[in-house]
Amino acid sequence: MTALTTGPLTTPDHAESIAGLAPVLTARNVSIEYEVTPPVKAVKDVSLTLHRGEILGLAGESGCGKTTLAYGINQLLKPPALRTAGEIVFHDQDGTDIDVAALEGDALRAFRWDKISMVFQGAMNSLNPVISVRSQLFDVFTTHRPGMSNAEKLERSRELLQLVGVDPNRLDSFAHELSGGMRQRVMIAMALALNPQVMIMDEPTTALDVVVQRGILREIMRLREQFNFAVVFITHDLPLLLEISDRIAVMRHGEIVELNTSANIFAKPQHEYTRKLLASFPSLTGDRGSFVRSGESTEGNAL
């Protein structure tokens, strides 16, 4: 293992697998710091390309910087977080390239949600508890599509709910009247409202039961088939990413340590951290293997 490598580990066939794809979002040398004393580098020189229609999984444990990176891309960083370097370019489907980092004010507002939208972590509690679902969906339209009439907004809102598998008659419900899974679906509907080309999802199903999670995932896949948006799926659940995503970037301590197709990551992980992560998820139906009961010594002290 030479110290020469300054980028994520991968295999030769990775380049081939993305050869013909059109990029929709390119992040280059992004660094994000927390301006505390002493400053903390949360994201270190990360470069990433997201292709149209692709599902890119961003895997890692807490503190690795994946959420920070997602917020950085969307210009959602709050003090003391600060993007200190790097550029982020969005390749619109009409052919123009937009420098996301340079956007501000009205241009940023117009860009956000329209081109890239986000489903936040803990999204179930991100719905405003005191206004109805309808109002929140309408808010999206009022902000970004000022020309829409109320009738159009209503029609679109009902359509969106139907798309995500929620009964359109629940439009007037409040957040607390919906189950966890339904709230999540509403959040996805809101993120879909303006037909974005990229959706960033930060642990969208973590707090949900596995059966509900499967339903939401199914929904996301279906919507992607229909609308062909790209997805950045951030989670610590590696088996999940291995099942549904096209490519996976494994992050650790602010860096991407490995980047490859899911199949390759599963079959031939290159980085020892990736192997360690994989080993942390015992196989459900495979061999019992050398896991726990036989007393293997993976029992070290804390990290």
């Binding site: 598998g165 899974g181 279906r222 549904i244 899911s262 459900l284 019992r288 007393g295 804390a302």
Partner: protein
């Protein structure tokens, strides 16, 4: 024989605000027996009642009906008999951040049970035992760990402290309520391995509560599947996982992420879209039956 037997446990909760005392049955006729050296996994989703069972066993809640027998005798709810019960039955909580008091040192947390159950007296004896327990859970050097406060430890370390605290009274039965679900992925195995080792060394009877079927299978001898307060399936771990009988178990197993199924979901979705029938198929039917169709 040393056993902790749970017989026909039922727990009802009063539902507020819906008229005169509507009841919600969280646990409905649950029975099983913990034996030394064996682990039973209680598996279920949220709302299945598994945590309520755990709280009843650790006497944080009283059952509406049913019994908890220790070594064949009814367990007490008061006085010295309760103290005796607590000496034998301890619990590890899910949340490593909340289960330790941020104001006190680690030593305090482990000292209290030692004192309460007369395991040690006097400064030197107590210190020695505290250090010993910390070493057993691989927190070294023990004197330094003992002097720290919870926020100075990582999540995995805090959970180890919680395990040490549970062992302090000399418990024979351990209820582990989702002990690793809030830990970082890469530390989960090490904590589970620790529990397994301690179980072997102390011949503990462990009740492992989780929603994660994979670790349930690898870590326990027997799996009990709960759904809405009832037991729907039980059996040896491998049996239940590899050869599930009940539809709900099958649903759970099918829903768990499995890297071997890469691409399958996409294919299914494509086929569904092509045939333009959104919720047909067994999966949909199964979901509907278990009331999860409105997810």
């Amino acid at each position: 024989m040393s056993t902790l037997e749970v017989k026909n446990l039922i727990k009802d909760f009063r539902v507020r605000g819906s008229g005169a005392g509507k009841k919600f049955r969280a646990v409905d006729d649950v029975s099983f027996t913990l034996e030394p050296g064996r682990t039973i996994a209680l598996v279920g989703e949220s709302g299945s009642g598994k945590s309520t069972v755990a709280r009843m066993i650790s006497k944080l809640e009283t059952p509406t009906s049913g019994e908890i027998l220790i070594d064949g005798r009814k367990s007490a709810t008061r006085g010295r008999a309760l103290a005796e019960y607590r000496r034998n039955v301890q619990m590890v909580f899910q949340d490593p951040f909340a289960s330790l008091n941020p104001f006190h040192t680690i030593a305090h947390h482990i000292e209290r049970p030692l004192r309460l159950h007369g395991k040690a007296k006097g400064r030197t004896e107590i210190d020695a035992q505290v250090h010993q327990l910390l070493e057993r859970v691989n927190l070294t050097p023990a004197p330094i760990v003992a002097a720290r406060r919870p926020h100075e430890l990582s999540g995995g370390q805090r959970q180890r402290v919680a395990i040490a605290r549970a062992l302090a009274p000399g418990a024979r039965f351990l209820v582990a309520d989702e002990p690793v679900s809030m830990l970082d992925v890469s530390i989960r195995l090490s904590v589970l391995n620790l529990l397994a080792r301690l179980q072997r060394e102390e011949s503990l009877g462990v009740l492992y509560i989780t929603h994660d079927l994979a670790t349930a299978r690898h870590f326990s001898d027997e799996i009990i599947v709960m759904f809405r307060g009832k037991i729907v399936e039980r059996g040896p771990s491998d049996e239940v996982i590899l050869n599930p009988q009940h539809d709900y178990t099958k649903l759970l197993l099918g829903a768990a992420p499995n890297p071997e199924n890469h691409g399958r979901l996409r294919e299914e979705v494509r086929r569904e879209l092509a045939s333009a029938s959104a919720t047909s198929g067994d999966a949909g039917a199964a979901r509907d039956r278990f009331g999860t169709a409105d997810l």
